[in-house]
Amino acid sequence: MKSLRDTWLVFQRHLLLMARSPLQIFLGVAQPVVYLALFAPLLKPALASMGAGTMADAYRIYVPGMLVALALGGGLYVGFGLLAELGSGVIERARVTPVSRVALLLGRSLRDVVVLAVQAAVIIVLAIPLGLLVRVPDLLLAYLLLALISLTSSAVSYGLALKVGNPDVLGQLVNNLAQPLMLLSGTLLPLALAPLWLRRVSDWNPFSWAVTGMRELFAGHPGDPAVWRSLALMAAVALAALLWSARRFARTVR
């Protein structure tokens, strides 16, 4: 009970901080718009191999992948904010209070989920006139999947930030993690183009499963086994990431 209340407290504060930074909000919304605008002309030829005959087909394949990329890529960078907070002393101020240590992590991660949800809404709304079609129940499942991905990436990022404690090292680490994970999940470039061995490797990438599940949802096939598999897999991965990061919080932020 106490951790829930404390999580809400930390969440509120971080939402407020976000709301007070108009530039951050603008950039957060601009990023998906840019993705959508820049990649659009390339979509049809690039996705033809995945059966995209029309522009609308192309968006139905591209948008789910891009949402996963946003959840994964965006979340991995949140650790920098935590390093700044560690330097400024606000974390230490929280540490001398009896506030729940798990709440310090969860409150932040949930804020990251909300940010992602808004970004995803912008993309989906913009993509509908372009031919994207999704039913509301499918969309809700898609949001659940996105939330799990976002929780995973932000928890990992916070945990890594606490572990390395240095923004330069964290930057290298996150780049080296994000690039292969993105490539090997077929978020932006379809894996159908990849050689067989690369596809075998990507089978071990949970985010690749998430992309497949997401695409089935946007194709209107919520009953496809890829959907429940991706949800179950990401739920397990998110839980593991949160546990690992919560332990780092509990230890570093004792």
């Binding site: 606000v90 101020r93 001398v96 209070t97 004792r254």
Partner: protein, 320 residues
């Protein structure tokens, strides 16, 4: 209120396979009574911040024992946290939010309900005189305004024990005096204040009792007055109206009980070693008057805490 015995902490720093160990705090015994301002005085690197952070549950000690407000630091740090407030050497606030919002959050993190937290924040705004800028974002605060907010954040939940790390470093004299007044007010309201400082005058004027530390060990502990007295008593200098009478005056004064020693200095004044200057001075004047010697000047020179540090370590605090 705070008891430590043999409290220890070393840092290991590894450089290319060679590790060096710094004994930041090497077995410290401290006793802090309820409702006093206790100061930890020492030069840079003496281990003040390390001690404070250990007592505030921010840093796990390597050994020893300690209780804070009746709770065991080692066995139940969570219980310690319920009774303490802490203000770091550098403070810590978010730039985008206001002092009031910070105060409410801090009170809520200490477990208070929303309405209660808002009331406490409003009270803190009043009593720390933050009203003028409490609803502006923290980004624009001056050093003194920020430090006052830091202090308010440390006590918004009315802790029994308040830890302050270098509360006045970087403040101008006016802001400093103001902060001292606020710390005294907290003490008068029953709060036990544990602070660190490397200012002699701060330790002397603000603290009820001090511990002088150097290299992680205790050099001396007591009230500022006791510590200074422990050094070598005090010195009274006397100028007699007719300098040729100085040797006679010295002879008269050595027979006085309160005077431990008297010498005539080259400039013709007398230097007297006494235990307590205040009571010795009238006796000296009476004795001289009785012998028919007129006094022109009389002055009291007290040893400073720096003299204490010098006597115990062979170094001066002001130089180190």
């Amino acid at each position: 209120m705070i008891e430590t015995s043999g409290l220890r902490k070393s840092y290991r720093t590894g450089r290319r396979g060679r590790t060096t160990t710094v004994d930041a705090v090497a077995g410290l015994d401290l006793h802090v009574a309820e409702g006093e301002i206790f100061g930890l005085l020492g030069p840079n690197g003496a281990g003040k911040t390390t001690t404070l952070r250990m007592l505030a549950t921010l840093l796990p000690p390597d050994g020893g024992a300690a209780t804070v407000a009746g709770a065991d630091l080692f066995a139940s740090p969570a219980e310690v946290r319920r009774s303490i407030g802490y203000v770091a050497q550098g403070g810590g606030t978010w730039d985008e939010v206001t002092a009031r919002e910070e105060l409410v959050l801090q009170a809520r993190m200490h477990g208070l309900g929303k309405a209660e937290a808002q009331a406490r924040a409003a009270a803190a705004v009043d009593s720390f005189d933050l009203a003028e800028y409490a609803d502006r974002p923290c980004r624009g605060y001056s050093g003194g305004q920020r430090r006052r907010l830091d202090l308010a954040l440390g006590v918004v939940h009315r802790p029994a024990v308040l830890f302050l790390d270098e509360p006045t470093s970087g403040l101008d004299p006016a802001a400093r005096a103001r902060l001292w007044a606020e710390v005294r007010r907290l003490r008068d309201a029953g709060t036990t204040v544990f602070l660190t400082t490397h200012y002699l005058d701060e330790a002397d004027a603000l603290c009820d009792r001090i511990a002088i530390v150097d290299g992680g060990t205790l050099v001396a502990e007591g009230t500022p007055a006791e510590l200074k007295r422990s050094i070598a008593g005090e010195v009274v200098t006397v100028g007699v109206a007719e300098p040729h009478l100085a040797p006679k005056a010295a002879e008269v004064l050595t027979t006085q009980e309160c005077v431990r020693g008297a010498e005539v200095r080259p400039d013709g004044t007398l230097r007297l070693s006494v235990d307590t200057g205040e009571s010795a001075m009238p006796q000296v004047m009476r004795a001289l008057a009785g012998a028919g010697i007129a006094t022109a000047t009389i002055a009291l020179h007290r040893p400073t805490l720096d003299d204490v540090f010098l006597a115990r370590t062979g170094r001066s605090l002001e130089e180190s």
